[in-house]
């Protein structure tokens, strides 16, 4: 792959463009989506927390009113004496109970138990009620040393809901007298109406996450199951949750508010974001291809022209010129090349001319040396003809003349004195 890319300038440009663009598009896109998501999430979390605080405040207000009612009843002598075996008119006791419970009767009923049996009640009808004395709420109230306990109804209960019972022991002598404020899950839901969005869920639970009431989307039980599973496995309670889950404690009452809201961005929205990134990647690849093609042409055309000119120049075409209509480095390079070839051509021509002159001079010199040669041959012929005809004086004369001539046309710039003396004698 690397070799394949390296073999082509165009591919190298495409590869670099592609990598740079993809890095920017993918990283930028993911960061944008995640950043957007994180910002949006933070804003929604803030809104959710404000709403959760509002809900908790309403619950807290209900509980505080109920606690005040229990304290008032515990301090009411009429109620207490009626439980301790004193003679009491039930109308007077009820009057005290209704007065004490005036602030909570629209969402709760007040019952007073003695020995597990309901003796007075602000609820509907006069049906006798019973709560086990040694089990659940009454037992807890007896063990709380006059404190208020928050418990589930041991009867009429489901895994989704249970009446919330606030109980306080108000007498110790004889059968334990215990005042119980009963808030049904429907009453809790009624008190919280309008505090939620349609897609929200809410649970009021005990410390083991057993719900007193389950409202809205919490009814499918998935959030509660997940919370418990995470707590059992030592993970954060919202680990793996698609929804936002907010849990807050209602002070030291052992009650928990669990508020559930849908995710800020639906999965489809996030998927759309990533789809857009994918489309951007495809577009980037196409743009890279086109840009790489254009850029490579832009860069490779002058390089190819230059390369072709160099090849022609190497083959001896000193008239090679590059014609580039550009002002950039490639234009300057072409001008430089043209200047270089021109100078080289001039230099070569000058050298040729000089060599030609030398050759001509040599020829002339050779031509000059050619005439004395024929003269010597003639003088030798005369010499030998004179000798053949026995005229020695002519032979001697021609021989001396030849020696004088030879000395005269000698190419040597200098000669020994002896040769000069010889020439004089001749």
């Amino acid at each position: 792959m690397k070799g394949f890319v390296k073999q082509s300038f165009r591919r190298q440009i495409f590869f670099i463009f592609l990598v740079v663009t993809l890095v920017l598009v993918i990283c930028g896109g993911i960061l944008t989506v995640q950043g957007f998501e994180a910002r949006l999430k933070a804003d929604h979390e803030q809104q959710d927390e404000e709403r959760e605080t509002l809900i908790s405040e309403r619950i807290r207000h209900m509980l505080e009113l109920s606690e005040d009612t229990l304290k008032t009843i515990a301090e009411n002598d009429t109620v207490v004496s009626s439980l301790e075996g004193g003679r009491a008119n039930s109308l007077v006791v009820y009057s005290a109970l209704y007065e004490a419970s005036a602030g909570i009767r629209d969402f709760a009923t007040v019952d007073v138990y003695s020995g597990g049996f309901r003796k007075y009640s602000t609820g509907l009808g006069e049906k006798a009620g019973y709560l086990p004395e040694e089990y659940a709420v009454l037992r807890e109230a007896k063990m709380a040393d006059g404190g208020i306990v928050y418990a589930m109804d041991p009867a009429n209960t489901t895994s989704d809901s249970s009446d919330l019972l606030l109980a306080k022991q108000i007498t110790e002598s004889g059968n334990a007298g215990i005042a119980v404020v009963r808030i049904s899950s429907a009453a809790i839901e009624g008190q919280l109406s309008g505090a939620f969005n349609a897609n929200d869920g809410y649970l009021l639970t005990n410390r083991f996450f057993r719900p007193f009431c389950t409202i809205g989307t919490a009814k499918d039980n998935t959030a509660l199951t997940l919370i418990k599973k995470n707590l059992f496995s030592g993970k954060a309670y919202n680990y793996g949750a698609e929804n936002n889950i907010y849990i807050s404690e209602l002070e030291d009452r052992g009650l928990l508010c669990v508020y559930i809201t849908p995710p800020v961005l639906e999965k489809s929205a996030a998927r759309s974001g990533y789809k857009i990134i994918f489309i951007q990647v495809i577009i980037s690849i196409i743009v890279c291809l086109i840009a790489a093609s254009r850029m490579s042409t832009f860069f490779s055309k002058p390089i190819n022209t230059l390369s072709s000119a160099m090849r022609r120049f190497r083959k001896g075409d000193f008239d090679t010129k590059i014609d580039l209509d550009r002002d950039d480095e490639f234009g300057q390079l072409a001008t430089g090349f043209n200047k270089m070839t021109g100078q080289l051509k001039n230099t070569m021509e000058e050298q040729v001319r000089a060599e030609r002159r030398v050759n001509e001079a040599r020829i002339e010199m050779m031509q000059a040396q050619l005439n004395p040669h024929f003269l010597y041959n003639t003088l030798d012929t005369i010499k030998w003809v004179a000798k053949a005809n026995q005229v020695p004086e002519i032979a001697t004369l021609s021989s001396s003349l030849a020696a004088v001539l030879r000395t005269g046309i000698s190419g040597d710039a200098f000669c020994p004195v002896s040769r000069e003396i010889e020439t004089v004698r001749n």
Partner: protein
């Protein structure tokens, strides 16, 4: 060129990654993370505070007991609920994975039949429990005793003529008038047939076809229908658990209850520690708790279930009855034969009634 670019890209990616690492967590909100961590840490359930319970009891029975156990011990209970057969199957799977501590509910004959699923545990309350139905090898512990009783519609049947003994049900006048649930849908029906066989001292080969004949092909699909169908007069008599009958009476149904004069079985439902229990110590605490005085009294008062403890005074409504030594092992041994006889008898009744008019009660299972 590529080499240079690679170096450049590598550096660019590193810068982007580090930037993302720094920026993104900052965007998610540190306060929120800390709030989640605080609650998670405060309510994290350590291993020694966990218990996994599989139960075949109804929600109204197991939920208050388990919630009370949680409140008293601080042990968190993971609940898996379902039918008896389904839960025993689930327990077998979970036991193999070490993911179950307790099986709570189901007749002790079911525990006896699947002994390999459970390990012995001797409850600290053993001395206070009814000796009649105690596991010899401590494999299971009884939860509550469930005697079988007769019921009748008190507007249609006088007390004098109501069946008093098991053999009375074979009287011709009760033919087609006995409310009885399909054996395949009711464990109680199986216990009833087994009890009839043992009380009368006849083999199941004789008593099952004879009883089927008395039902006259009128069989209910569920044991839950027995009380309402006797009360509304579709049937005049029936056989059910004491617990169910008492609840029906409390609920105002027009029925009365009779303890069989010739004795009845009171096969308890059980509770046992499962093999490979990951929280066996807590499982032991749970067993001790369910047979403890408080839970036994609570089960009696709330669910009309007869306590297995000797020291718990019977509440109003619970009468004296003659008990006989019901042989659980024989009952377990006869199980397949009883089902076989039931299916054969029902098939024969079907073929005999082919072409005949169906009974008007369309809630009955057509056999």
């Amino acid at each position: 060129m590529i080499k240079t670019m690679n170096n450049f890209l590598r550096k660019s990616l590193m810068v982007l990654f580090v930037t993302a690492m720094i920026l993104l967590p900052g965007c998610t909100g540190r306060e929120r993370t800390e709030a989640v961590k605080a609650i998670s840490d405060a309510y994290r359930v350590p291993d020694d505070k966990q218990l996994i319970v599989y139960t075949s009891h109804k929600e109204e029975v197991y939920l208050p007991i388990i919630r009370e156990f949680e409140n008293r011990t601080g042990i968190w209970v993971e609940i898996h609920a379902g039918g008896t057969t389904e839960m025993f199957d689930e327990v077998r799977k979970a036991s193999a994975e070490g993911a179950c501590d307790i099986m709570f509910g189901g007749g002790i004959e079911s525990f006896e039949a699947q002994k390999d699923l459970f390990m012995p545990y001797e409850t600290s309350e053993k001395a206070n429990l009814d000796k009649e139905y105690l596991s010899s090898d401590n494999i299971w512990t009884p939860f509550t005793e469930l005697p079988l009783v007769f019921i009748y519609n008190k507007k249609l049947v006088s007390e004098a003529e109501a069946p008093k003994t098991w053999s009375d049900f074979f009287d011709e006048k009760w033919k087609g008038q006995i409310a009885f649930a399909d054996l395949h849908n009711s464990g109680t029906s199986y216990t009833i047939l087994s009890t009839i066989s043992q009380v009368l001292g006849v083999s199941v080969n004789t008593c099952v076809p004879a009883f089927l004949s008395q039902l006259d092909n009128r069989i209910l699909s569920s044991s839950k229908q027995i009380i309402p169908f006797v009360s509304n007069g579709n049937y005049t008599v029936g056989i059910t658990l004491e617990e169910t009958a008492l609840k029906g009476i409390r609920a105002g149904y027009d029925i009365a209850m009779i303890y069989p004069e010739d004795g009845t079985s009171k096969v308890p439902d059980g509770c046992a520690m499962v093999v490979n229990a990951p929280h066996s110590y807590n499982a032991g605490l749970f067993i001790d708790f369910v047979v403890g005085a408080d839970t036994q009294k609570y089960a009696m008062d709330e669910f009309c279930r007869r306590p297995v403890r000797n020291d718990t005074e019977a509440a109003e409504g619970f009468g004296e009855f003659k008990s006989f030594n019901f042989d659980i092992k024989k009952s377990a041994k006869d199980e397949s034969l009883i089902f076989e006889l039931w299916d054969d008898g029902a098939a024969a009744a079907d073929s005999g009634n082919s072409g005949s008019e169906r009974r008007p009660d369309n809630k009955e299972v057509p056999r």
